[in-house]
Symmetry: C2
Subunit: 207 residues, 2 copies
């Protein structure tokens, strides 16, 4: 297909496609003349992926990290996925020497973790913020959260795709895209529980 059809199929504007080509994020098409190139399904797939990553808030250098891992995965799938997930926001200072709050939670839950994994720094930062407004996590809350978040993570990992390339895409997109789903569902679960606490006879609306 011509570049105009690539634009039509993906909804990515021509100027943006050209920018991704210059930046090396989108692989070049097959040149058919000095000014024309032919594109295929892998270009469509790559453009849709870049668009999704951009929509998740990743700046260009972080998108590049994910794409390079897809094109050149490390020997260990575990390390490759860890490096790809580390490209996702929020971007916190991961160079702190210690993560005492995060370490305490993870040890309490008996979880295996790589202290270099950026989610450890993200957890430390989130726990420090909760402490900062006078709402540190109690042991009861850590245990309940740990148990139920593990259940969510198991559901996430159940359908993990077989190829390394699709596993990386699934992990990166699935990690980020469901975070706002979980946040909204939690707010709605609060409303449902509050509603039943305040009026135990209330029923779910039939529809």
């Amino acid at each position: 297909m011509r570049v105009s059809e690539l634009v039509a199929q993906t909804g990515v504007p021509l100027a943006t496609v050209k920018y991704y080509l210059r930046e090396g994020l989108l692989m070049a098409g097959d040149a058919t003349s000095a000014t024309r190139a032919e594109y295929g399904e892998r270009h469509v797939h790559r453009l849709v992926l870049i668009k999704a990553l951009s929509g998740l808030g990743l700046p260009i250098p972080k998108i590049r990290v994910v794409l390079q891992l897809i094109d050149h995965p490390q020997d260990s799938l575990f390390d490759t996925l860890g490096a790809a997930i580390a490209a996702l926001p929020p971007y916190v200072d991961a160079n702190a020497a210690e993560f005492p709050r995060a370490k305490s939670v993870l040890d309490r839950l008996g979880q295996i973790y790589d202290p270099q994994f950026v989610a450890v720094a993200q957890l430390e930062s989130a726990l420090a913020a909760a402490e900062g407004i006078g709402m540190p996590m109690t042991g009861e809350r850590i245990d309940a959260y740990g148990r139920h978040i593990r259940g969510i993570a198991e559901a996430d990992l159940a359908p993990i795709p077989p190829s390394t390339e699709s596993a990386i895409e699934y992990a990166v997109l699935g990690t980020a895209i469901y975070e706002p789903v979980i946040a909204a569902m939690r707010r709605l679960a609060h409303q449902d529980l509050m509603s039943k606490m305040l009026d135990p006879n209330r029923k779910a609306p039939t529809s």
Copy 2:
């Protein structure tokens, strides 16, 4: 205490304190002369709360909504909490006529919800984004998420404070402050599960 001590105790700069006073977010102190006023614990508490809400990403008009609900709660605690939570980000278009994806999830889970509650629009927007990148929620995922998010919400509501004022503060701050904790813990649970899938004999580090 003098305004300078208010600044010292809360870490909020003087210019910001004066701005909050002008905007009516912080109640005036008791005037002791034409140019001096005396502040007390309720001013410290209010400033710390405004600082926390601002840190959670609420713009001034949304902070005002929360404070007005604390100062003038509606008759129904349920409605008051709903209105306060609605002041939290993310700010999505809540004026859509229908929320078919969110409604389908909530009906499947048998949850009570107010269709006007902004979290319904937030869920719709999050589900549409997942669908948009080709990862719509399956029924299995909805069920697993629903069950475990309910468990998290129960842990959240267990220690809800008795007074209306503190319940509103707890609900607003607790809803938002634990969202990044949950996101980071989910990423770490993925790592733990992946690690055990790839090497079942691996043990948690002893420390």
